[in-house]
């Protein structure tokens, strides 16, 4: 049970890390055109 006192604060930290990663992905344009991959089959090359 005592491990919870470590894991819960850790999970809070992890949430912030994940939010940070998502921010990076968003700003680098990975979500700007999510249809692109689906349309790739229609392209010649």
């Amino acid at each position: 049970m005592d491990i919870l006192y470590l894991l819960i604060p850790l999970s809070v930290l992890l949430v912030f890390v994940i939010i940070g990663v998502f921010w990076w992905a968003l700003q680098s344009g990975q979500f700007d055109n999510i249809e692109r991959e689906g349309e790739r089959v229609l392209r010649g090359d």
Binding site: Y5, I8, V12, F22, L26, Q27, D32
Partner: protein, 789 residues
Amino acid sequence: MNKALAVPPVGPSPESLPAGEPVDDVFGAHRGPLTVTDDFTVLDDPVEQQEFTTYEPAAEASPGEAGVAQSVLLVQGMYCAACADTVECALQDLPGVESARVHAATRRLTLRWDPAQARLSDLAQAVGRTGYRLLPLQQALSISERLRETRMALWRLFVAGFCNMQVMMYAWPAYVAKPGEMPADLEQLLRWASWILSVPVVTFASGPFFRNAWRDLRLGHVGMDTPVSIGILVTFLVSTAATFDPSGPWGHEVWFDSLTMFVFFLLGGRYLEHKARDRTAGALDTLMNRLPEVCDRQAAEGRFETVSVRRLSVGDVVRVSAGQAFPGDGAILSDSATVDEALLTGESHPVTRSAGESVVAGSFNLAGPVLMRVDRLGRDTRFAQIVALMEKASTDKPRLAVLADRIAAPFLVIVLLSALFAGWYWWQIDHSKALAVAVAVLIVTCPCALSLATPAAMLTSAGALARRGTLVRRLQAFESLAGIDAVVFDKTGTLTHDRLELESVRAREGWTSAMVLSLAAELAQGSLHPVSRGIVAAAKLANPMEGAPSALGDCRELAGQGLQALRADGTVVRLGSASFCGLAADTANETPKAYLADADGWLATFELREGVREDARATVAALHDLGVQTWLLSGDRQAAAERVGREVGVGAVIAGATPERKLAELEALQAKGRRVAMVGDGLNDGPVLARAHTSFALGHAAALAQAQSDYIIQGGRLMDVVLTLRQARSTMRIVRQNLVWAALYNAVSIPMALVGWMPPWLAGLGMAGSSLLVIGNALRLAGSTRARA
């Protein structure tokens, strides 16, 4: 806009610009993609202004002044109908502003202002002080701005969603643990963790709600986001107090899970709404964003240089490569070009244009590079007229929307009061429930569904019709059209083509009609007279094999009389009026005739008639199927009108009508309680078109700005009348569904929240769901014209 558009004596003279810099340097930085700096000077650049502003010449009384300018701008930071009011109020009282209208669903502002008294940048700054931003439309539609908005929305949504997920997990033990089962310090730790993750949700993700509510508060309004913001703040503060002081006056209940969840739902609703609105606007955008930014202009010495379209001038020769759109209206200089004029017709058929023929701006060159001479540019092109028409329609407020907007504000005040009352009432019964009930009431109300119901549906329909080549001048026209039960057609140019068709041929003994026809066609092939073209077309139809070399020489056309030529044996053949051919006119009936004569006298008589449009009969039949009666109202002779009427199957024919008589007939129909739609060519029957409940103009000859009608059918298909009627009926059905849904939703959910049957998270879901349902229902209209076409 019935007045001609004039090139402006632009408002702020160069002297009024920052001193010391030549004009071009001030604006030079804005060439290429626009960037709007906070001082909005770009709005004053005369070259850029052409993109979103039209000028009307001054009234005759004051010839010295610049007249009135009309600009269409995009308002950033707008969420609801109340915002539209705020912007309008901010502008209304400024000097130089004649009128300002904001359309909530498209966030577009139509501003009429006097360039002599005001500068656009000052007006934009005044709006900026109320917390909104005015952007030139071109810029706002450009990718970077929209991208930033979408990214930010997605970012907020993710923060709210992810924190919400984690807060749920921390909340779970508290729900399942029996009293005393969980150590108090562990429970406290979970609360702290929930609090930490709620902070970004409240301070960052809920930002737009607070910003809007604060702005409304400062301006003394109640907006859509006011109740939501109060709900978020109160929940957060009470839960925070309970976390850090469990024995305090606020009890020890925490609501972090509900709080993060309804913020997530509300943001999710906003995000999807934003996407849907982009799609609605997208139908207009695909129409408007067709013109290329740059093109290849031929310089004096023959080489090509790439210049901005805004720097082109009339008379320039440009090269348009395959796949590019023509930058202006003009004439083809190359041998031929294959173009796609879906812009006008709604159908992507390749059309061939040979040298000297005209092409319109915004249509696409499909094959090979083509040289063209630019005849009309910018505001003068047909494309710009279409865009201006659509812009104007999209800022139009239909009657039902105005009504909904008027209800929204008092409705919100009532909501705030009832939340207060519910909180006070429950406080006396059950402390722990009072907060949840009050917050649920604040969150669950959805006036946005009410105010979006009408414009969302009508705009989607207008966009869908525009893609088929039918333009809607006023959104209100959907309501008028849906209710009609009679359609009155004009004859010439509406039910019939402008061109003539061959009806019968009589020939001299020994000649077959095919022989006289081919002889006449040989004579007529160089002529542009409608009779000649009718004969040539009939000959081609009878004998599609071309190539017999002409045996005639010295072919001449005598204007107003006919054609004559010399045969190989030296005798003269003539085609034309009776007197020209030296014959007595045949007066048996009044159809147009042409005579053929040679040295021996009469050879043949050709009777012609107006050709009925191919789809006229089907259109009239389809209208009858829809329960609509039809009339033919014509200024032509009784016999001709009746023949067309019979051929088309129209219900009743009124012939020989002068314009006054037409108006009187229309008024008589209306007096009998009929709701009448008039279909004409948009030019000749102005008063009649204007008097009818709603009206269609057919054909692309009419200058768009001068056409009097509510609907303009550019494709020249009569069947589009039926299609538009069906679309209008389904539009009004969707509008009614939306209004009923919005009213029912609010009528049911608010009492439920008041009696405490609705937890805050369900309230958030309900509100987001109800606006989405309204928008989604409206979007069904986008595909409906295609399915029926």
